[in-house]
Amino acid sequence: MKFIDARVIDNVSVAEEYYEMSFSWPSEETPLPGQFLTIRASDRTTPLLRRPFAFSRFDDGVARIIYQKRGDATAILAAKTRDEPLNVVGPLGNIFPVPRDSGRPVLVAGGVGIGPIFFFAEHIRAHNPLLVVGARTRGLLPAESCPHGIETVYATDDGSFGFHGTVVDVLKTTYSTDDNWILYLCGPEPMLKAGHEFATERRVPAWVSLEQTMGCAVGACMGCAVRVTGGLGYARVCTEGPVFDSREIVWT
């Protein structure tokens, strides 16, 4: 974890309302898949708090994020151009654990969860991962940013591209009992919950990367708590997470 004076290298639209930004990043602070950073979007007091984004890729000296334009902070980010300074703290949080046994990693991404899942897919390319990428509709799929040469299934809720249904529907139709899967999911909470339920029924291990509004993002404020089964009943997404064993989470 470090304070980094980064510079924007590129900032392009990759799907409707989705952007991919690349920026300079010191090699000695190499981020790993699952980890995130925080950006202070502007020097003004609105938006006030730093915003967390997961790394979507790292090449020597260049880091990337894929983000959706949602509100004030991401609108400011989307307007940034080459060479603009970027006030960043990172890398933060834990990582997706690399599968140890021979099981097949199945990586599931939806919405703003695509960035960290793409990063992880590249990282464990040698484990022959299966990538499942979902969106509401075709226009929201950043097809160009998807890692190449990895088996990928696309799913859209409206059937406009790839499989007609949710990513968890894909899992249900693809899975057979001799499959030795290990699941990794990042995306909207209902998707994570459905993924967890699928994993519990089929006795498949599942790792989920969670989102929660953050204050400090370094473990100091207890603001980013989520309900877990152990300890005092809460864990911090910024410190104990963002990646959790899905069985540790109290799903509501």
């Binding site: 974890m1 470090k2 304070f3 202070r40 007091t45 609105t46 938006p47 006030l48 708090l49 730093r50 006030n87 703290v89 929660q212 509004t213 953050m214 204050g215 400090c216 993002a217 370094v218 473990g219 100091a220 404020c221 207890m222 603001g223 980013c224 708590a225 989520v226 309900r227 005092l232 009943g233 809460y234």
Partner: protein, 304 residues
């Protein structure tokens, strides 16, 4: 120039502190800023037993502000001594422990326990949180009743020789009333303000965003309110007043000092940019130098 501040028996080397609840127990920020530059680190509240904290979500951003409902989530006094105090003991900045409880006896229990286990005298004072809007007992209820404020102050002064700083709530009609009560009870200083009670409703869900309904508002939005409260408090008591609420820049901090504060704390701004606290200190020193102010008392000579 000597901008040190004396509170009770302790001399704090400079007027800058980082506010309770925004800086954890110090180690969280170790990699981001040089902790030696900070004058005083106010820890997250410590209660007798560990507390899980309030339901989620706990944080929501508002216009230039932050509404929180953390609910004093903390490791408890035993956990604090075992897990947090050893690191704090290695720091060169002063450490003040923020204390909270459900009733006066719980506050006493924490102070007594910490005093007993602080074998190398790491703790330079206690800041008594009688102003948390996010818990049912203790906290705010206690802090709005001057009689209870005075009694609790007296009880804690009897319990420890270390400085007692009573942290006041802005959620009262007249902040000078609890301030005077704290002074009457023997407080060595008062700090103000804690967060202001606030609320946000999600109109599509037709529900308050915070499950608890209300939360505590902090950040730049509260600055003018905090400044007026510090100004009034400094004129009502003779003990030092520590000003906080919404500091984002050195100019804000200087305003607190000119209004009568003897020290300041940076809170929510630590989340926004961990460099702000040290920048604020540098800015105060620079202002003092250009304006030829050599002590904190010099700041108090301009505004009646």
């Amino acid at each position: 120039m000597d901008l040190s501040v004396k509170i009770g028996s302790t001399t704090f080397t400079n007027p800058l502190g980082v506010a309770s609840g925004t800086f954890g127990y110090g180690s969280e920020y170790e990699k981001l800023i040089d902790l030696a530059e900070i004058g005083t680190l106010y820890t997250k509240a410590v209660t007798p037993r560990p507390r899980p904290g309030n339901s989620i979500p706990r944080i929501i951003e508002t216009a230039s502000g932050l509404l929180n409902s953390i609910g004093l989530a903390n490791v408890g006094m035993v956990g604090f001594v075992e897990q947090k105090l050893p690191f704090l003991a290695t720091l060169s900045c002063s450490v003040v422990v923020n204390v909270a409880g459900d009733d006066p006896d719980e506050y006493r229990e924490v102070v007594e326990y910490l005093d007993r286990h602080d074998t190398v005298n790491t703790i330079k004072g206690y800041e008594v949180n009688i102003s948390c809007p996010n818990v049912k007992c203790g906290g705010l209820a206690l802090g709005t009743d001057p009689r209870q404020v005075e009694q609790l102050t007296r009880l804690l002064k009897k319990t420890t020789d270390k400085p007692i700083i009573m942290k006041l709530t802005p959620n009262v009609t007249d902040i000078t009333v609890p301030a005077r009560a704290a002074e009457a009870g023997g407080a060595d200083a008062v700090s103000c303000i804690n967060t202001l009670v606030g609320m946000v409703i999600d109109t599509s869900l037709k529900k308050t965003v915070l499950p608890a309904g209300t939360g505590g508002l902090s950040g730049p939005a509260v600055f003018p309110v905090a400044l007026a409260m510090v100004y009034r408090t400094a004129r009502a008591v003779t003990i030092p007043v520590i000003g906080l609420g919404g500091i984002m820049t050195a100019d804000h901090a200087v305003q607190f000092l000119l209004a009568g504060a003897s020290a300041v704390q940076v809170g929510t701004a630590n989340f926004v940019d961990p460099n702000i606290a040290v920048d604020v200190l540098r800015g105060i020193e620079k202002y003092a130098e250009t304006e030829r102010l050599t002590t904190i008392q010099d700041f108090h000579t301009f505004i009646e």
